[in-house]
Amino acid sequence: MPLSLLKYGLTKQPKLQRHFPPTPELKNSYDVVIVGGGGHGLAAAYYLAKNWGITNVAVLEKSYLAGGNTARNTTIVRSNYLTPEGVQFYDESVKLFQNLSNELDYNILYSERGHLTLAHTDAAVRTARWRAEVNKHLGVDSELIYPDEIARLCPQLNLGDDVRYPILGALYHPPGALARHDGVAWGYARRAAEYGVEIHTQTEVTGFDIEKGKVVGVKTNRGNIQCGKVLQAVAGMSSEVARMADFKLPIKTIPLQACVSEAVKPFLDPIIVSGSLHVYVSQSSRGELVMGASAEAYPLYSTRSTLEFKEELMMHLLEMFPFVGKLRVLRQWAGMTDMTPDFSPVMGLTPIENYYIDAGWGTWGFKATPVCGKRMAETIATGKIPDLIKPFELERFYRNEQVGERGAASVGH
């Protein structure tokens, strides 16, 4: 038994410390206002304080702490992307994740389960090999494997050819991991608050004060504040918040649904993704199967659930795991994904001076939480964009320099 728990248990009336203070009154002015109190915003606040000594920071969250897409994603962490830019970016994130529990002194339950992206067509095999080759060249552990090796890693998978789309191969990414999504946000929030960052929940931004192309203030439902700089980190509402600051983003917001089953004893170790079958599935530390499919076919600002999503997902799931038919779906939900044309995020400057953007996180936002927070903090603190995130500037769409990650991003969260 770990010492910390022993100490807790043996103390007669253990003194409970708040992990973060209650929402304080808004001050008149902050050096940095972060719009969005999800994982990204909180991580940026933490690294601003820790790495750059900037602590006069307010994080504004319209709902409860980390209650947006941070609370709704399926918690997969990986770096087996397709473009060198993407692979290097997510690789730094994976490395930060691997040490995050100790860095934050908060166990984020980081669980390296290995990640298998199944290929059911020769085109998918080609893409898997392409990703593996790019990954390996950049030092990321990835390999194209074939059914015999897949069977060894996940003997439960139906590798027979008695299904509509037999499995021909897979991209195997051993560092692929799961983490407790809420814990990541709470851990960052707790440390950021210790540095003096203010976290304001139930505080909704209603507009910005922009003078001569420069942001100078933020309007909220709890009053107006002045600011030195603004970071927008509001996955699912990026276009709408940018609209308040009077600039446009090349983003379509599309619902993405997910569901969990009832908990059963662990039987599935790796994270399994099938692009062709539009399924991804892993078994959580509670024993639930966490499952999702591809994003909806249409843009919509709604987190409604549908029956069709479950029907299609389960049909495909049974092709892969025919023995889970009697397991039950416990709960389904939806999040909103900000999809960019090239399936890569948008980070960096905006047409508004001192207004920084962290958006376009589609279905890959959670896994970038540490690196994005760290590098956006650096951008804000130094005014210079680090090379690692330079390819993801908003400007790239005007320059037609996209970072095409479709092949690695669709379904594969």
């Binding site: 770990p2 022993l6 409970l16 702490l65 059911h120 090999r129 080759e133 789309y165 029956l307 799931l317």
Partner: protein, 978 residues
């Protein structure tokens, strides 16, 4: 065992669900039990005085019946390969093998319960606070903790039981066959609506079947029998029993789950009469077997004829508890005391009847603690104390012996379906109850009505009236017949149903708020104290309401405890969002039969007969090659050589085929594709390259102009649906005068290619002049081929003289046969996809999706020749023009390697100064050219013919090669134009 066999079973007269003429044997943890037809696992075990059903998730505490309605996790068991079965609603079957779940050892002796001893070391959220130091420690702890996860077991040998789905339509759907639902269904049906009534239990009646309502039970039965009789015989009403509504979705789209079938039901109006869930009280050991809800005891007695205990204490805060006491007495259970939490002495008929039976009634008291028997497998009594304030009792307690404690302290509306759709339950302090905050709307219309206790209406007459009103409203919403007159708006009769604070903390804890997750009062308080006071954070940090019952018994008390701990007022607060499904849904029921049809061409069976190895191509199956797998290389080579030197037939039916007709047809194509089509002569073909708005290549094909206003366009095999959709999408904006038809399946295509192909065709009875002068390359003709209407396109994908012949699918096999037969003497043979890919590679033709990717623009793929630069618009034009002024980063080139070289693989990288610049997109050994040929992306600076570049093989080795001119074969295209 025989001595206690069905020792708790009551006399013949009770047990509405039972057929006592049929005895059923089953096993629980290897021990044999008997019950009657209609018994559930839990009721049959209870009849045998077996109270222990399961162990709890975290502390492995003994658990027994709680709700007796399938709404809690206390009764989860494993049946064979089926995990997490609700034992209190699953009927027993002969020979059924029921097992306890999540036990270490046995249900009786579960070593997991030792965890309870160290519970104080495992506070809520403990895993966030430990196990990660020193760095790397978590890897070891994780394995240990993961072993504790989960409840039931998945059997990897389990097989799918495929079930059907069925679409249904009706005027009015009524969810819930209790008093409100029954009267709603009758009212709607009497007014002319067709009604489907959904009831989850085996028989109709709901609370009328088990709740007391009145001192004279027979009076309630008469009401029940009359309602059920009328509903069952009504010609407008269809009753579905053992059916659960999983979700109420947009536009009254309902999922109805029955054991063997998923119904997808569209209803004009919906009446939701799903009732209420009785709520537990929170006191020490409130989770042990023997402590159950009052309604659970009544269900055991009335539905299953089982005596829930020998001696009972009833705790209540409303009149229903008095009904429970009367039912217990009727069933021969001694009632040691009735604890009424209210100060005020009740003067109702029910309470008077209890008093008349000389039962001791203690007002203003509560159970403070249940006293466990050894091993916590039941209770031997309760400690009772007078309430001195909210959650507080006086020091003096009194012990009352009993083996059963029945709790009737309030309800929560079963509003899940409504909340899934955006409805909210908010706390109303005046009734200490969660209450629906109106009905959510579909757009601006409300298409559903709640009825009965969902509306916090509990008085039976009012429930019946509320149901009738709802039925009438539903008819009006459905727009049928005359709108019935609505009754008076009802007053809520929920006053004095719920006790405001049935929560009593104990210095030694074990007062459970959430039975699923083993959460006690201090766990919730601790989450709040640590800063997680928002109800959503309480949930996420402590996992309260996240278990199998999704908060049915815990959401209300959790709201009370967490809100008080945070120092906030309760009034108007809402519980956390509820999500579908209402009940956990079996995956196989949702999946149904797999419906993923394979597309086969009209010639499919001929390919099989000819020994083809089929391969998937999108949804289609295509011949990869003809012959045995072990001779595949030879087969592909021979097929390729047949086309180069003789004649070959390729089934190209999988190509997408679209007909574009109308006065704007040419203009439409001019916008959709990059070439120029306005001046394309009739009877001519043009290449058709499609870009998206970012200038990326997304499809290609051939556009044949059949007449001034009629084009026949092919697409890639995988692209037909998306191209068609894209055309419709664009023309929805352009409004051009065209008619776009996807005729992919209507026509089959056979490609005949090779120097001998003209000879073969000329042997057929063909009214088209096929001579080189009359029918030149890139032309199209329509005519008769052995009496078949055919469209002949002279194309050259594989680089030889050849035609694509498109005919109605029904004629394709005949044409294939006649071509193959006629071609015999010219060495004609069927050719598969692999040889076709090799042949086109020799010609340097790209395959969209293989030699292009999600970012490939025409210039990179050396396709700029396919863009008409002068026309005013095509979809990708703006981007193409922007890109023209930009430095390109890669370029598709041809390369060769000596025949004996290692064969690189597609997707092997190409490097420049060790940086990734591209990859091989296609590569193959060509026996015609006697070398390895391939296409690869390289840096533009490396793209001139003769420049060398590096290929990185999968094993890390590098190969150096040089750019060569394309095409590899017949550079002047002479062979296809003869």
């Amino acid at each position: 065992m025989s001595a206690s066999l069905n020792s708790m079973r009551l006399l013949q007269s009770t047990g509405l669900y039972l057929d006592r003429s049929k005895t059923i044997s089953f096993q629980f943890n290897g021990q044999s039990f008997q019950g009657f037809q209609g018994d559930t696992i839990a009721s049959a075990l209870a009849a045998n005085n077996c109270k222990l059903l399961s162990r709890s998730f975290k502390y492995h505490r003994p658990r027994g019946i709680l709700s007796m309605s399938g709404q809690d996790s206390n009764t989860l068991v494993q049946i064979g390969d089926e995990p997490n079965v609700r034992a209190d609603t699953r009927a027993i079957e002969e020979g059924m093998q029921v097992q306890a779940q999540n036990v270490i050892g046995s249900l009786e002796k579960d070593y997991g319960s030792l965890i309870g001893l160290i519970g104080r070391f495992l506070p809520v959220g403990f895993y966030y606070k430990a196990f990660y130091k020193p760095k790397g420690a978590w890897r070891y702890w994780e394995k240990l903790i993961r072993r504790m996860a989960g409840l039931g077991k998945i059997d990897p040998g389990s097989e799918i039981e495929y079930t059907d789905k069925q679409y249904r339509f009706t005027d009015v759907t009524v969810i819930g066959g209790g008093p409100a639902g029954l009267s709603a269904a009758l009212e709607a049906a009497d007014n002319g609506a067709t009604v489907i009534l959904i009831e989850e239990n085996p028989i109709l009646g709901g609370s009328l079947n088990y709740a007391r309502f009145k001192t004279d039970r027979d009076q309630v039965y008469r009401i029940r029998n009359e309602l059920v009789e009328r509903v069952s015989s009504h010609s407008n009403i269809e009753v579905l029993t053992q059916a659960q509504c999983g979700g109420w979705f947009e536009d009254n789209w309902l999922s109805i789950l029955t054991p063997g079938r998923l119904f997808k039901l569209r209803s004009k109006a919906v009446v939701i009469a799903s009732g209420s869930f009785e709520q537990p009280a929170v006191f020490r050991n409130n989770d042990l077997p023997g402590v159950m809800l009052g309604s659970a005891a009544q269900r055991l007695i009335r539905l299953y004829g089982v005596k829930p205990g020998q001696s009972a204490v009833v705790m209540t805060a409303n009149e229903d508890g008095y009904g429970v006491a009367l039912d217990l007495l009727d069933a021969g259970v001694a009632v040691a005391a009735l604890i009424d939490m209210r100060e005020q002495i009740s003067l109702s008929d029910l309470s008077q009847a209890v008093v008349a039976k000389k039962i001791e009634v203690l007002n203003g008291h509560t159970i403070y603690e249940a006293l466990p028997v050894a091993g916590n497998r039941g209770i031997r009594g309760v400690k009772v104390a007078a309430i001195s304030g909210e959650g507080k009792v006086v020091d003096e307690t009194r012990t009352i012996d009993c083996d059963l404690a029945c709790i009737s302290v309030g309800y929560t509306p079963a509003a899940q379906l409504i909340c899934h759709f955006g409805g909210r339950l908010i706390y109303d302090e005046s009734i200490s109850m969660l209450k629906l905050d109106g009905m959510p709307k579909h757009g601006d219309k409300c298409k559903a009505i709640a009825a009965g206790s969902l509306n916090t209406v509990f008085d039976l007459q009012q429930v019946l009236a509320d149901g009738k009103n709802a039925g009438g409203s539903a008819v009006a919403i459905a727009g049928i017949g005359v709108k019935p007159a609505l009754g008076q708006k009802l007053l809520s009769s929920a006053v004095e149903q719920n006790h405001p604070w049935p929560i009593f903390s104990h210095p030694q804890g074990k007062e459970f708020v959430d039975f699923d997750e083993d959460l006690q009062i201090h766990d919730i308080e601790q989450a709040v104290a640590e800063g997680y006071e928002d109800l959503n954070l309480v949930k996420r940090y402590s996992t309260v309401v996240m278990g199998p019952s999704q908060g049915r018994q815990s959401a209300l008390n959790n709201l009370r405890i967490a809100t008080k701990a945070a120092g906030n007022p309760l009034q108007g607060l809402s519980i956390t969002t509820q999500r579908p499904p209402f009940h956990p849904e079996p995956i196989q029921l949702l999946a149904g039969r797999s419906f993923q049809p394979v597309r086969r061409t009209a010639i499919h069976h001929r390919h099989i007969e000819l020994g083809a190895q089929m391969m998937p191509a999108g949804n289609w199956l295509r011949p990869a090659y003809y012959g045995l797998p072990e001779q595949s290389e030879n087969a592909v080579e021979q097929e390729a050589l047949a086309i180069r030197n003789g004649v070959g037939l390729i089934d190209v039916s999988t190509l997408g085929k679209l007909e574009i007709r109308g006065t704007d047809a040419a203009e439409f194509l001019n916008r959709m594709y990059t070439f120029s089509y306005l001046k394309q002569p009739v009877d001519r073909l043009r290449y058709a390259l499609m870009l998206d708005e970012t200038g990326v290549i997304i499809d290609d094909g051939i556009a044949a102009r059949l007449s001034e206003n009629h084009f026949y366009v092919s697409t890639t095999s995988g692209g037909s649906d998306s191209v068609y959709r894209s055309m419709l999408h664009w023309n929805a904006q352009w409004r051009l005068d065209v008619d776009i038809t996807n005729v992919t399946s209507a026509y089959a295509g056979i490609s005949i290619a090779g120097p001998g192909s003209r000879d073969v065709l000329q042997e057929l009875n063909c009214d088209v002049d096929l001579s080189a002068d009359a029918f030149t390359y890139s032309e199209v003709r329509r005519g008769q081929l052995n009496g078949i209407a055919a469209c002949l396109l002279r194309v050259g994908f594989v680089g030889e003289l050849g035609w694509e012949i498109h005919v109605p699918s029904s004629q394709a096999r005949y044409l294939w046969d006649i071509l193959l037969e006629t071609g015999q003497k010219y060495g004609c043979r069927p050719v598969g996809v692999e040889a076709q890919r090799l042949l086109r590679l020799e010609k340097g033709h790209i395959i969209v999706g293989q030699d292009t990717d999600g970012l490939t623009v025409p210039e990179e793929a050396a396709m700029s020749w396919a863009i008409a630069k002068k026309k005013p618009f095509h979809i990708g034009k703006r981007s193409v023009e922007i890109l023209a002024n930009k430095k390109q980063t890669r370029r598709l080139v041809g390369f060769t390697l000596p025949k004996k070289s290692v064969l690189p693989q597609e997707s092997n990288l190409t490097l420049k100064d060790d940086h990734i610049v591209g990859r091989i997109t296609s590569v193959a050994r060509s026996s015609t050219l006697n070398e390895i040929i391939g296409l690869a992306y390289v840096h533009p600076e490396q793209s001139d013919v003769g420049t060398s570049f590096d290929i990185k093989l999968s094993n890390g080795n590098r190969l150096s090669t040089k750019v060569v001119a394309l095409p590899f074969y017949d550079p002047n295209g002479k062979r296809q134009e003869i």
